[in-house]
């Protein structure tokens, strides 16, 4: 593990600047504003409107293939959606306003600063939101106005919530993107952690968590002194500003270093993401025509078909896939011969086996997405609103997919890499569950079969 702050001192200098998050949020505000403008006043044709092409093709692909696996939640550092709410809470864009204390947190905050209800302090609402969005994804990618409603809605809701509830309540518990960012951030190369636990122990103030004159309290309610996972750290770097002892590091570490899934909400997130990776692959690339209707259903008027298919997809993600997985877990427990390990524990802990594979399945899915739609990206840059502009002369660029028959040769290694990391991680997780190595290996047999089967399904889809 390398500490990037030590290796590249300028990096630490930059992230501890008071203007830092603002500086990288600003260009994104500019972009999202442009996108929303296009979504309202540009052409109604999805693949000719920059909001659809940039958000659902380019942004999504970069997010999943680059930002999350390498940068953890680095998107949340620069995300423009909750920025307005956060600035309103703080009543400043770049400064710290010390002085008051609200529920132990230091800093002057505008708004009611209520705590979010305990019952909802999990990612179930995010899971539900993500599934709903997924059902309407056909609209999202064809109707720019729907993207405006979703993105604009997120800005409005996050701003209102920021005035009622404290700090990043929206991001923690509601943002539909957040759940998947958190889950897959566990695999990321970078991680923000405290360096020496002894330094934390001898230091009573916990400024990293509670805030100081140099920085705000952690808006994500994470105490970096005890934080062991990437899931809910939004990489805002306030804690780095707060820590006088310089005890916070930004590690560059092996892939899939966080391995602990906590609770059913996260487990189900893993099911939902894998299920949807499958559904979208069938939808866009697979041979089955009905799914195409699902996306185009308003044109074909098949409302009933839409509802049935959406139900089928939700069921697949929340019941069928978990059911199959449960059978294999049951088998794993039986085969291991261990009586002490509870089924629930094994079910939750081993569900991490879906995480590396799920992420790589999504990456494999986005390869042809970019290849096929590359021409739209290039032409929409010159004509963002479909008004007949030609800023860079590429508006009429026509694209022959680059070596389209190479796509499977990129996808196969990606899927196999997912399989490898999944099995490897499950083995390492198992070491903490089973003390007997024989039991551990036996418990892995069903999991390996399960993962192998899932891999075959995806290979079949992509390679045919």
């Amino acid at each position: 593990m390398i500490d990037l702050f030590e290796k590249i001192p300028i990096l630490k200098r930059i992230v501890t600047l008071r203007v830092f998050p603002y500086l990288i949020i600003l260009p994104n505000i500019f972009f999202f504003y442009l996108l929303l403008f296009a979504g309202l006043f540009g052409t109604p044709v999805g693949n000719r409107n920059i909001i659809v092409v940039f958000v659902w093709i380019l942004w999504w692909a970069i997010l999943i293939a680059v930002m999350v696996p390498f940068g953890s939640r680095i998107w949340c550092t620069m995300c423009p959606l909750p920025a307005i709410g956060e600035w309103l809470q703080r009543m400043t864009l770049t400064r710290v306003r010390p002085g008051e204390t609200i529920r132990g947190f230091k800093g002057k905050f505008f708004g009611l600063n209520k705590p979010w209800p305990k019952r909802f302090q999990n990612i179930w609402l995010q899971n539900i939101g993500f599934l709903i969005l997924a059902c309407f994804s056909g609209f999202l990618v064809t109707r720019p106005i729907v993207s405006v409603i979703v993105l604009g809605g997120m800005i409005v809701i996050s701003t209102i919530l920021a005035l009622i509830y404290r700090m990043r309540t929206f991001c923690m518990y509601l943002c539909p993107v957040s759940g998947f960012l958190g889950l897959y951030a566990m695999t990321a190369k970078i991680a923000l952690r405290r360096k020496d636990p002894e330094v934390c122990k001898s230091h009573r103030g916990v400024e990293c968590y509670l805030g100081s004159v140099k920085g705000y309290p952690c808006s994500w309610f994470q105490n970096v002194c005890t934080m062991t996972r990437n899931n809910y750290c939004g990489l805002c770097f306030e804690c780095v500003k707060n820590c006088d002892a310089g005890n916070i590091a930004l590690y560059w570490r092996p892939f899939c270093s966080d391995k602990e899934i906590k609770g059913y909400d996260e487990t189900w997130k893993a099911f939902i993401m894998l299920g949807l990776a499958f559904v979208y692959s069938v939808n866009l690339l697979g041979p089955w025509g009905i799914f195409k209707d699902w996306v185009n259903f308003t044109e074909s008027g098949k409302w009933l078909g839409f509802i049935l298919l959406s139900l089928a997809i939700v069921l697949l993600c929340v019941a069928v896939l978990p059911g199959i997985y449960w059978l294999f877990i049951y088998w794993a427990k039986k085969l291991s011969g261990n009586k002490e390990v509870s089924l629930k524990n094994l079910f939750i802990k081993y569900s991490y086996c879906l995480v590396p594979f799920g992420l790589l399945a999504w990456i494999a899915f986005s390869v042809p997405l970019i290849m096929i739609n590359g021409s739209y990206i290039i032409s929409v840059i010159s004509d963002p609103f479909g008004w007949g502009w030609n800023i860079f002369g590429t508006a009429n660029f026509s694209w022959k997919p680059f070596f389209p028959n190479w796509v499977p040769y990129i996808q196969i290694p990606l899927l196999l890499m997912g399989l490898f990391y999944s099995i490897k991680s499950t083995y390492e997780i198992g070491q903490n569950i089973f003390s007997d190595n024989k039991q551990l290996v036996r418990s892995l047999i069903p999991i390996t079969i399960f993962l192998g089967a899932v891999t075959l399904v995806f290979l079949r889809l992509y390679v045919g």
């Binding site: 008071r18 309202l40 044709v45 000719r48 409107n49 400064r95 106005i145 007949g388 502009w389």
Partner: protein, 157 residues
Amino acid sequence: MKKTIEILIEFIAFFALIFIFVGLPLVINWYDSSYLPSRYPKGTKIINLTAKVSQNSCLWTLEKVNSFNYWWKKFKFAEEISVREGDKVVFRVHSADVLHSFAIPRFRIGPYEISAGKVKEITFDARREGSFKYLCWLWCSDCHGDLKGRVIVSPSD
């Protein structure tokens, strides 16, 4: 001193935001309605024409169709497009949804394909006076037959 700098930065940050919010629409508008038209020869008449299909009604309209008003607005049918004899005309033909085409047969213009979300520019010299049919030339939807109107060339005075 440090405090003054902080406040200064805060001010700059604030005005940068305002600048984006106000400036971006202004720049877009300037580019579209001043800069781009200025590149045609002086006196060119620019006509934006959009073909639209929805709920089994097809129409050509001179009004702006965008992603927002597409769903609810009742657009005026461009039954007649008036120009004067001798006008240099540029038709900028848009399609708001599916593949259409555009032709003025008696002037031997087109048919040109108008793909969804793209704009086709067609120059046209109004040499003769009269009333000339323009239409969509390919079967685009069930109401395709409605996609026709007239270009009226009135005498120059």
